[in-house]
């Protein structure tokens, strides 16, 4: 029971980074391998806001999310838009965007290593006991989970209940047909990429309240987010959330029952099962 609750609490944060990636890949068609670096950068900014300016990380989200939105919009229009324009087909764009975001990954990681060094950081925020079903949990984990749920629900409402959100989903389904119903595809893609970056940054800021982080761990989170996105089906919000919770529970179970050194192996086991049996995602339909 303890494992399941801890896993779900962890899965909440995973869901945010995976939702960010699924928007970036599903709508903007950019496989952003530097996503984990956005995530870690948000950890550091939340850390800095809290220790230097005594700003509560939850309030910090109000600063971090818009900043990440603006920066990701800039990254998309300066670095990635030229690649979208020059690509002759989807495959070329995939190769180009993978290589370009590898470049970003190392560049950002290098800059953060220079700024903060390779050591681990953490800060104490709401480190109190909170009882769920008779078991104690860190209050910071519970608060981070609740915040993640609020953000995810807001995203769901936006995508399924508003005009803009419908446009975003239309581009995800088919960019060429979306043009026919007067959707500005280029702008919607940039918006989705920026929104994805903002969601990822929110996930990072929330994770930093209960997790020790360092400058070079971004790749691990990118990896987890990628696997969640594929498990859930690319561009599928409900699938990503469910997959994130499954991954959170599996990781916690393997770490506490077998060995904490085997978390990547656990993620991969899930990944292989998905690849072999449902490569189109959990809720996806078989393509012909």
């Amino acid at each position: 029971m303890q494992i399941i609750v801890t896993g779900i609490l962890l899965g909440g944060t995973y869901a945010l980074i995976a939702l960010g990636l699924t928007l970036q890949y599903g709508v903007a068609r950019i496989m952003n391998l530097a996503n984990g670096e956005t995530f870690v950068a948000a950890c550091f900014i939340a850390f800095w806001l809290f220790t230097a300016m005594q700003i509560n990380p939850l309030v910090g989200l109000v600063i971090i999310a818009p900043a990440a939105f603006a920066i990701n919009w800039a990254i998309y229009s300066v670095l990635l838009k030229p690649l979208v324009d020059r690509a002759k087909n989807r495959g070329m764009l995939e190769v180009d965007s993978i290589l370009a975001t590898f470049g970003l990954l190392f560049l950002l990681q290098g800059l953060m290593l220079l700024a903060f060094g390779g050591s681990y950081f953490s800060y104490t925020f709401l480190a109190e006991r909170f009882m769920i079903l008779g078991n104690p949990f860190g209050l910071n984990r519970v608060v981070a989970f609740v915040a993640a749920v609020v953000i995810a629900v807001a995203l769901y409402w936006f995508l399924y209940r508003t005009r803009h959100g419908t446009a975003v989903r239309a581009v995800a389904v088919d960019p060429n047909s979306a043009k026919l119903v007067a959707i500005d595809v280029a702008k919607t893609a940039a918006f989705a990429f920026a929104l994805g970056g903002a969601l990822t940054a929110c996930g990072g800021a929330l994770l930093s309240t209960f997790y020790t982080f360092n400058a070079s761990m971004g790749v691990v989170f990118t990896m987890k987010a990628l696997i969640i996105v594929i498990m859930g089906g690319v561009g599928d919000v409900r699938g990503a959330v469910l997959a994130a919770l499954i991954l959170g529970i599996t990781e916690t179970a393997v770490a506490s029952l077998i060995d904490p050194g085997l978390t990547i192996a656990a993620t991969y086991a899930l990944f292989i099962i998905v690849l072999l049996f449902r490569p189109q995602g959990m809720f996806g339909r078989q393509t012909t």
Binding site: V95, G103, L113, L114, T222, M223, L262, I272
Partner: protein, 320 residues
């Protein structure tokens, strides 16, 4: 019987001369330049082997570190019990086995799954190896004591590079190479003319992986002490991608053009500014995407084509 035309005989002749000249390097230098030569040879073998698969398919494989580490570990585990040549062969077989598994899981699907799968592969194998090691024995590392010096490793890597080149050339004229050319141009067409695309890709990935595993096995005596984090260093995967793409993968010798300058540059940077290596790698990736999408060799060919074009145009005008 294979027939060779004049150009091929000439290339073969000059190739043999170049290899003979390179083999004499240890006679001139035993210190820094030999060690640099070993590095150059290692990356020449790795990048050319990588391009055997990733060149025609355009799939970016990040599995290099996993194959390399498996080769190193094969030697580390049995160096006291089995003869070295057998172990080198074994390293290649183990790596090819892993390549087959990865290929079966991902190469039937689209390229993105493959990239993502290989991204964490080295880390996955590292975790499994360290976990098994802590269960089976108490020590973390392995000692590799052999009579091999840098000179021997240099010669073995040179021989391996030659083997990779010859294999690449043979694949180029085989049915498999022809199939890969079609798959690289248009996979749908390839499937419609009856090519088993998944089988061809898996086979090629295994060949490429086997060579990388062999390179890892040959390099094992260099380390003397092998630990999971150093054997499965993910940096190797990324460096190989950068060097091969910097040189260009359209020609068999393309990666060499990237290997030589980048190995020297990276050697200097990691010696003098060890904290700046990720930034250099990041800039290299960005430079490849935005400035040299077909690598240096691709750019040179473009320039040559542009030089030719005005002359032809001039010729037409004269004729008119």
């Amino acid at each position: 019987m294979m027939r060779l035309d004049n150009t091929e005989i000439r290339i073969g002749f000059f190739g043999a001369l170049a290899v003979a000249a390179l083999a004499t390097l240890p006679l001139f230098s035993q210190g820094y330049y030999l060690s640099l030569g070993v590095n150059l040879m290692l990356y020449a073998a790795l990048c050319t082997a990588w391009s055997l698969f990733s060149g025609p398919t355009h799939y970016i494989s990040l599995a290099t570190a996993a194959f390399f580490g498996l080769g190193t570990y094969t030697v580390g585990l049995w160096v006291d019990h089995v003869s070295f040549p057998l172990l080198v062969l074994g390293g290649g077989l183990v790596a090819a086995g892993l390549a087959a598994l990865v290929g079966l899981a991902t190469l039937r699907l689209s390229g993105v799954y493959f990239v993502i799968f290989t991204l964490g592969l080295a880390e996955l194998v590292r975790q499994i190896v360290s976990w098994t090691q802590t269960k089976v024995s108490t020590r973390m590392g392995l000692y590799v004591f052999t009579d091999f010096t840098e000179v021997h490793i240099y010669w073995m890597l040179l021989a391996l590079t030659v083997a990779v080149f010859v294999t690449g050339w043979l694949i180029g004229r085989s049915r498999l190479g022809f199939a890969m050319k079609i798959i690289g141009n248009d996979e749908t067409v390839a499937r419609h003319v009856g090519i088993d695309t998944a089988r061809a890709k898996i086979l090629l990935f295994m060949i490429s992986g086997a060579f990388i595993g062999i390179a890892g096995a040959i390099s094992a005596p260099r380390y003397a002490y092998i630990e999971p984090p150093s054997a499965f260093n993910p940096m190797i995967s990324f460096l190989v991608v950068i060097m091969a793409l910097l040189g260009g993968t359209k020609r068999l010798w393309g990666p060499l053009v990237g290997v030589i300058p980048f190995t020297i540059l990276f050697d200097q940077v990691s010696a003098q500014f060890p904290n700046h290596t990720p930034i250099v790698m990041g800039l290299a990736f960005l430079a490849i995407v935005y400035l040299l999408p077909d690598g240096v060799t691709g750019r040179l060919e473009q320039l040559r084509a542009r030089m030719k074009r005005p002359r032809e145009k001039l010729g037409e005008e004269v004729r008119a």
